[in-house]
C-alpha cells in the first residue's frame, strides 16, 4: 500500500519527501530544546517542541525543511517552535538552498504561550518574505490531519506555492472556532463534508489558494515538491497588483455564493457536486483550465 501522508508523522513525512537518508536535523530531540511555558502550566512538553527543522536534499538539490507535528498540541506554534522555524528561514539567507520546504500542520498559535506564539508567527511571516525576497522559493506541503489554520494559514499563503491533498485543509479560523463563536447555523463543524468543501484541498485548489492538488501519498507530495523547485519568487509591485486584481475578482464573482458548490458551478464545472468524490488525478483532469 502507498504511504499515506495524512497518517504519517512529521518525521516520517520528512524522511519520505526528501531524498532517502539525506535529512540532517538541527536541534534534534536529544538537544532537548523544549517549551518552559508548558511545564509551568502542567502540560507535557515535547523534545522537539512539535517541529523538526534541518537540511536535506530533494531530487539532489540542497533544501532546508521544517515539519510540524500535528500530534503534539495540534502543531500549534509556541515560542521555541516558532523560533526554530524563524531560524531555519534565516539560515536560508546564509546557505542559499534551492528551496525551503514547509511541511505544515498547525492549528495556529499555541494558547498556552499565546503572545509568544503570535509574535513568533509574525516573525515567521517576515522571515518567509525575506527568504523569497532573496530569490529562494518557499514551498508549502499541506496534507496532515490537523490542516493548516490560524497564523500558519496566513504564512502558507505568503509562500510560493501550496501543495495540498484532498484531505489537507487551509484556512484562517477553524470550523469549530466559528461554530463556537457564531453558532451551528453559521458553520456546522460536525458536517465534515461541508468543512472539507469549504476549507479542503479541492476547493483551495480551485480558488487558486493552493497550487497543486495531489493524492494522499508521500510520493505524490515529493513529486510535486520536486516540480515546485523550479519556481522563482516574485514580490514585485506588478506581481502584487496582479494578485490584487485576482482577489478583487474573486469577491465580485463569488462573494454572493453560499456554498463551494456554487463557486465550482460558477467556474463552469459540470455537475460540481461530484467533485468531492473524485480521486486527485480525475479531479485535476476535469477541472483543468477551470480554476479561478
Amino acid at each position: 500500500m502507498t504511504q499515506s501522508y495524512y497518517e504519517a508523522s512529521a518525521r516520517e513525512r520528512l524522511a519520505a519527501v526528501l531524498d532517502p537518508s539525506s535529512f540532517q536535523e538541527i536541534l534534534p530531540p536529544s538537544a532537548r530544546v523544549t517549551s518552559p511555558h508548558l511545564r509551568q502550566l502542567d502540560t507535557p512538553a515535547a523534545f522537539d517542541d512539535g517541529i523538526i527543522v534541518g537540511e536535506g536534499r530533494l531530487d539532489g538539490q540542497p533544501v532546508l525543511a521544517a515539519a510540524q507535528e500535528g500530534g503534539f498540541m495540534g502543531g500549534a506554534v509556541g515560542e521555541v517552535h516558532g523560533a526554530k522555524l524563524v531560524g531555519l528561514l534565516e539560515r536560508a539567507l546564509d546557505t542559499r538552498p534551492t528551496a525551503v520546504l514547509l511541511l505544515v500542520e498547525s492549528g495556529g498559535v499555541r494558547l498556552h504561550e499565546a503572545n509568544a506564539g503570535l509574535i513568533a508567527v509574525s516573525e515567521v511571516m517576515r522571515a518567509v518574505l525575506a527568504v523569497r525576497g532573496a530569490g529562494i522559493p518557499v514551498i508549502v506541503l499541506d496534507g496532515g490531519q490537523f490542516g493548516c489554520f490560524g497564523g500558519m494559514g496566513i504564512v502558507a499563503r505568503l509562500c510560493d506555492t501550496v501543495i495540498i491533498s484532498e484531505e489537507g485543509r487551509l484556512g484562517l479560523s477553524g470550523p469549530e472556532v466559528i461554530e463556537t463563536t457564531c453558532g451551528v447555523e453559521e458553520f456546522d463543524s460536525r458536517d465534515r463534508a461541508l468543512v472539507w468543501r469549504t476549507v479542503g484541498g479541492k476547493h483551495r485548489t480551485l480558488l487558486g489558494e493552493a497550487g497543486e492538488l495531489v493524492a494522499d501519498a508521500t510520493a505524490a507530495f515529493r513529486a510535486a515538491a520536486i516540480r515546485a523547485l523550479a519556481l522563482t519568487p516574485d514580490l514585485s509591485l506588478e506581481a502584487l497588483e496582479r494578485e490584487h486584481a485576482a482577489l478583487g475578482q474573486r469577491i465580485e464573482r463569488f462573494g454572493d455564493c453560499h456554498d463551494a458548490v456554487d463557486i465550482w458551478r460558477a467556474l463552469g464545472i459540470e455537475a460540481p457536486e461530484r467533485l468531492p468524490l473524485l480521486e486527485a488525478a480525475d479531479f485535476n483532469t476535469i477541472t483543468a483550465g477551470k480554476r479561478a
Binding site: E7, R190, R192, A193, W196
Partner: protein, 547 residues
C-alpha cells in the same frame, strides 16, 4: 354467558372515536395528537417503535406532548430508548411503567427518573426476551411504528431498516390492538410490501423523514496498532483454530480491525474460504473489503446502516434484499440466528471480573444490553453440529466423562486499560453497586462468565474452556489482564504453567511478530478507502467524511 370478544369491541370503540380524523387510513400530521388522544386509554400498554437505527420520532414527539390529564399511566414496551422524547413521556406523566432492552444515550437520564420514582421498570430484557413477551404477557394495545413509505391502502414499505416493525405489528394486530404508522411518504405504489395493509390501522405522513442513527460505522482511521495486534491474535488464535464460519461481531473498533484484516492478514494465512463465510451482522462498512475479497458468502442483518444502501443493492448474493433491491432486515430473526445459528460471538466490554463475567453497566446509568446477551451466550438448546462448535465442546468436556456436546465460542476482546487508564479487569463489577442503588433483582451482567470461552487482550488469549478449576480460571484471567491491579496480582508460576498447557497464549506463542502489527495491515485505513473498496457504492454519512 362470558363475553369472549371484549378486545375486539374495545378496538372498535377506539376506532370509532378516531373515525372523524381519517380518510381511509390516512391521518393528517396536524391531527396526530387528536388521533392518539382518541385511540389511547389510560393504562394502555404501548409500543413506541424505538430501534437501534430508525426512530418513530414524529409519533414520539406527539405522544410526549399529549395531555397527561387525558392520557396517563401508559406502560411503554419498546426495545430501545434512543430519543429524549422516549423519556419525556415519563417526565410529563403520560407514561409510568417501562419494559425495554437498551437505553444507550438516554441511560443517565433514565437512571435519574427511576431514582425519582417517575418510572417503574418492569424489567430490562434482551431483544429476544422482550419480543417473546410481546406474544405472551406484554402484548401492545397500541403500537406506534415507523416505515419509509405507505401506499393509499395502508401497505407499508420499511426500506432497509425493517428492524423491529414486523414483530411489533404482528403482536399488536393479531391481538386486536391498534397499529399507527408514521411514514416519510405516501405513494401510489410501493417498491415492496413489508407489512400488509390489513395489519395497519392508521398512516400519517410525518413532516420530516424519520431519524436514522449511523450506529455501526467505525472510521478505520481511529483503529490503533494495539487493536491491529489483537485482531491478528483473534484471527490466528481463534478464527483459524476453530474454523469459525458462522458468526456475529459486536460493534466497536476491535471487531472492525478484525474485519479489515481479513483481506490482508487472514488472506496471507490462507484462510479465505475457511473462515468467516456467514454472518449475522448489521452491514458494517468495515466489512466491505472482506466482501470484495471474497471472504463473505452471506450476511443477514438486524437493521441496515446509513450509506450502505447502494452497496447492498449491488451485492444481492451476499445480503438479504427484496425484489426492489433494498435490504430487508429483521431484528428478531437475526437475533435468533445470532443465538442459535452462529458458532461464535466476539465483542468488547467495559469490565470483566475474575469469574469472566462482563458488563458495560456503569454507575449512574441504566443502559441495558440490547442483543449482546443473546449473541454472547451458549445456546443450550442447540443440536446441530459444526467443527467450531464441536471443538469448543470437546475442549470444555475433555477428561470429565460428560455427555459429548458442543459449545458456542463467546469471546470477550478488550484492551487491559481503556482510555484514561480505566482498567478493564476488576475484582468486582460496578454492576453490583448499580444493582443495589437502583434496587434491581440481579447485578446487570452482559455476558456471564460461564458462557465466555475466551478472553483476548493485547497480552494474550485465555482459553477458559480448558480451565478445570475455579483457581485455574482466575489465574488464566489474571494472566491476560496486563498491568491492571488484577493482572499484577497474578501467581506468576501458575500463569507460566497455564501458558505451557496452551490455556494462555501470548502473541509469540501464536507465532505473531508484534512489530508487524501496524496500521499498514488494515485493508482500509480511512472511510475514503472503504468508499474506494466499494467501487464508489458506499456513501458515508457527512460526519465521517474528510473530502
Amino acid at each position: 354467558m362470558r363475553d369472549w370478544n371484549t378486545q375486539a369491541r374495545n378496538r372498535e370503540a377506539r376506532l370509532a372515536r378516531a373515525a372523524h380524523l381519517t380518510q381511509g387510513k390516512t391521518v393528517e400530521a396536524k391531527d396526530a395528537a387528536a388521533l392518539l388522544s382518541a385511540v389511547l386509554e389510560p393504562g394502555d400498554r404501548v409500543c413506541l417503535e424505538g430501534n437501534n437505527q430508525k426512530q418513530a420520532d414524529f409519533l414520539a414527539k406527539v405522544l410526549a406532548g399529549l395531555d397527561p390529564a387525558r392520557v396517563h399511566d401508559l406502560h411503554m414496551v419498546q426495545s430501545v430508548l434512543a430519543l429524549p422524547e422516549h423519556l419525556d413521556v415519563f417526565d410529563r406523566g403520560v407514561a409510568s411503567r417501562l419494559d425495554f432492552s437498551f437505553s444507550g444515550p438516554q441511560g443517565a437520564r433514565l437512571a435519574k427518573l427511576v431514582a425519582e420514582g417517575r418510572i417503574n421498570i418492569g424489567a430490562i430484557h434482551t431483544y429476544l426476551e422482550l419480543f417473546g413477551r410481546y406474544f405472551v404477557d406484554l402484548t401492545p394495545r397500541v403500537s406506534l411504528v415507523c416505515a419509509q413509505a405507505a401506499d393509499r391502502a395502508g401497505n407499508l414499505y420499511t426500506g432497509p431498516n425493517t428492524e423491529d416493525t414486523p414483530t411489533i405489528v404482528e403482536a399488536t394486530a393479531f391481538k386486536r390492538g391498534i397499529v399507527i404508522a408514521q411514514v416519510n411518504q405516501i405513494v401510489d405504489s410501493l417498491p415492496r410490501v413489508d407489512i400488509p395493509a390489513d395489519w395497519v390501522d392508521f398512516v400519517i405522513q410525518s413532516p420530516k423523514p424519520h431519524y436514522i442513527e449511523p450506529l455501526f460505522t467505525r472510521d478505520p482511521a481511529q483503529i490503533s496498532e494495539i487493536q491491529v495486534l489483537m485482531a491478528m491474535m483473534a484471527i490466528k488464535g481463534i478464527y483459524a483454530e476453530y474454523e469459525v464460519n458462522r458468526l456475529n461481531h459486536g460493534i466497536g473498533f476491535d471487531t472492525a480491525a478484525i474485519e479489515l484484516l481479513l483481506p490482508t492478514y487472514a488472506e496471507s494465512l490462507g484462510l479465505k474460504g475457511r473462515i468467516c463465510r456467514h454472518w449475522a451482522l448489521n452491514p458494517h462498512p468495515a466489512l466491505i473489503p472482506a466482501i470484495e475479497a471474497g471472504f463473505v458468502e452471506s450476511v443477514h442483518s438486524f437493521g441496515s446502516e446509513l450509506g450502505m444502501e447502494k452497496y447492498i443493492e449491488a451485492r444481492p448474493d451476499v445480503f438479504f434484499t427484496g425484489p426492489d433491491g433494498s435490504m430487508r432486515s429483521n431484528r428478531a430473526m437475526s437475533q435468533a440466528a445470532g443465538h442459535y445459528a452462529c458458532d461464535m460471538f466476539i465483542g468488547s466490554t467495559l469490565q470483566i471480573d475474575l469469574g469472566g463475567n462482563s458488563s458495560t453497566a456503569t454507575l449512574g446509568r441504566i443502559a441495558g444490553f440490547g442483543g449482546a446477551p443473546n449473541m454472547g451466550s451458549d445456546a443450550r438448546g442447540r443440536r446441530h453440529a459444526s467443527p467450531a462448535w464441536l471443538k469448543a465442546g470437546r475442549e470444555a468436556r475433555e477428561g470429565r466423562g460428560l455427555m459429548p456436546r458442543g459449545q458456542k465460542l463467546v469471546v470477550q476482546m478488550v484492551e487491559t486499560f481503556r482510555e484514561h487508564m480505566q482498567p478493564a479487569f476488576v475484582e468486582r463489577l460496578d454492576a453490583w453497586e448499580l444493582a443495589e442503588s437502583a434496587g434491581m433483582d440481579l447485578p446487570p451482567v452482559m455476558i456471564y462468565g460461564e458462557d465466555v470461552s475466551h478472553i483476548l487482550t493485547e497480552e494474550g488469549i485465555a482459553n477458559l474452556l480448558l480451565c478445570r478449576t475455579d483457581e485455574e480460571r482466575e489465574q488464566a484471567i489474571r494472566g491476560v489482564a496486563g498491568y491492571t491491579p488484577v493482572g499484577l496480582a497474578r501467581d506468576k508460576r501458575m500463569v507460566e504453567n497455564l501458558r505451557d498447557r496452551g490455556i494462555i497464549r501470548r502473541p509469540e506463542d501464536l507465532g505473531i511478530d508484534k512489530s508487524l502489527a501496524t496500521r499498514d495491515l488494515l485493508a482500509a485505513r480511512s472511510v475514503k478507502d472503504l468508499v474506494r473498496a466499494s467501487g464508489g457504492l458506499y456513501d458515508p454519512p457527512k460526519r465521517f467524511r474528510n473530502w
